[in-house]
């Protein structure tokens, strides 16, 4: 395949970054292009697609869950904790789904009454999901995701601790700090806490060999793109701060999408504890938004290849993009259950108006599992 003079590189990822080791894609010399082509064909291990997870060793594996179920069947009471492992985590929806996956398994095994299930989150309130919550029209009334989520937790008998930052995890006990400054301990027999995301620690150099990593990447390791990164208070946040083309801030032939790009700021209102610990969800940008961004950047790359380096780029801002989320528990029309949700747009006008600025529709479908 002929490599265009201006080689276009897309760094796309969901929870991971694929990129070239120790090289900036700005290099446009013939030798640089050849080098890049070779590196893509056989990337070193530290540049391959990867996901960073932080599990509690064997405490979250299927054999461990099965062992806990077996002990519960034998009459033991167990404490299960699921949530996020840091005050700045994102993807609370994944922890939410996993909570109800486990709850489903407990019920299917007939040991639900033997388990105390707790959801531990950095969200300010249930239903925030890292997007500042959702408001929607329900039978003529403005309702919100907080009420809907609390109802589900009550229905399924799940406890919740919100506004929490996990400070440390010892064997069988989680230490956390809350937004009000108080601290607490949560014993567990089985736990799954999501890790905080950060970019892969790679370096970028210009053609002269100067380190330009700080210009290419944010301190979090995510890639700076066409967003407005100027620090500003929550009251001055704007949907216009969010990137549209996902093109690198300094190079026209690098793009960062999904979890790879550095967001300009969170979507939920930022909050800190009295001790200064930031306890606020990072903006979610995996899943469906990543897919839309990936397609958009792919179309941009195709345009650049076909029409030249000055071709107009395609756009897909999260401020004008919708998202769908499906949280399922169990399998099958009669035994599984699922909650589906769509929202538009993902990034709302700031400050959160608390009105129907977005039009999410939340639907709950739980064949054969509803309880009165």
């Amino acid at each position: 395949m002929r490599i265009p003079q201006c080689l276009t590189i897309a760094a796309l990822l969901c929870g991971c970054i694929a990129n070239l080791p120790g090289s900036c894609a700005c290099a446009q010399t013939e030798s640089g292009v050849t080098q890049i082509e070779k590196a893509f064909q056989s990337p070193p291990d530290d540049a391959r697609v990867m996901i960073r997870w932080w599990w509690f060793g064997s405490a979250v594996t299927k054999p461990e869950l099965l062992r806990e179920l077996k002990e519960m069947k034998a009459g033991a009471h167990k404490r299960l904790v699921i949530g996020v492992g840091h005050g700045g985590c994102t993807c609370e929806g994944a922890a939410f789904e996993y909570t109800f996956n486990v709850e489903h398994e407990l019920r299917q095994a007939g040991v639900r009454d033997m388990a105390e299930l707790t959801y531990l989150s950095n969200e300010y309130e249930l239903g925030d999901f890292g997007v500042g919550g959702l408001a929607f029209d329900q039978q003529g009334f403005v309702s919100n995701s907080k009420l809907w989520t609390e109802s589900l937790f009550r229905e399924r008998g799940v406890a919740a601790i919100v506004g929490a930052h996990v400070k440390a995890v010892d064997p069988g006990i989680i230490h956390y700090e809350l937004l009000d400054g108080t601290t607490g301990e949560l014993p567990f027999d089985f736990a799954m806490l999501l890790p905080p995301f950060r970019g892969v620690d790679i370096k970028a150099y210009d053609a002269e060999g100067n380190d330009i990593s700080e210009q290419v990447f944010a301190p979090s390791g995510f890639m700076r793109v066409d967003a407005d990164y100027a620090p500003k208070p929550y009251e001055e946040w704007s949907p216009g701060d969010w990137p549209k083309t996902y093109q690198s801030a300094i190079a026209q032939n690098i793009f960062g999408i999904g979890i790879a790009f550095a967001p300009p700021h969170p979507i939920s209102r930022p909050r800190t504890s009295p001790s200064g610990t930031m306890i606020s969800p990072a903006p979610p940008r995996t899943g469906m938004p990543s897919g839309v961004m990936g397609r958009t950047v792919a179309e941009s790359i195709a345009r650049r290849i076909k029409k030249g380096a000055t071709a107009e780029l395609c756009t897909a801002s999260m401020a004008s993009m919708g998202a769908a989320c499906i949280a399922s528990a169990g399998v099958g029309m009669r035994h599984g259950s699922a909650a589906s949700m769509t929202m538009f747009p993902i990034v709302h006008a700031f400050p959160n108006p608390g009105e129907i600025s977005r039009q999410p529709r939340v639907r709950l479908a739980s064949p054969a599992t509803g309880r009165s």
């Binding site: 601290t183 301990e185 029309m333 538009f344 599992t369």
Partner: protein
Amino acid sequence: MPTDANGSARIDSTTEAIANAPLPTPRTLRSRKSIPRQIVRFCSFNARMLRMVAKGHH
């Protein structure tokens, strides 16, 4: 049950909010279990997602 730094049981506003949250009515639970209704909603939801994907980029 979570405990505070002194080992006392913690009952916060979230616990209270969950305890006071509305529960679905028997009619709602029946509709959730209705397979024909869920099939219709499944199709509707997928159509909505396709529309979002189509409108999500320019």
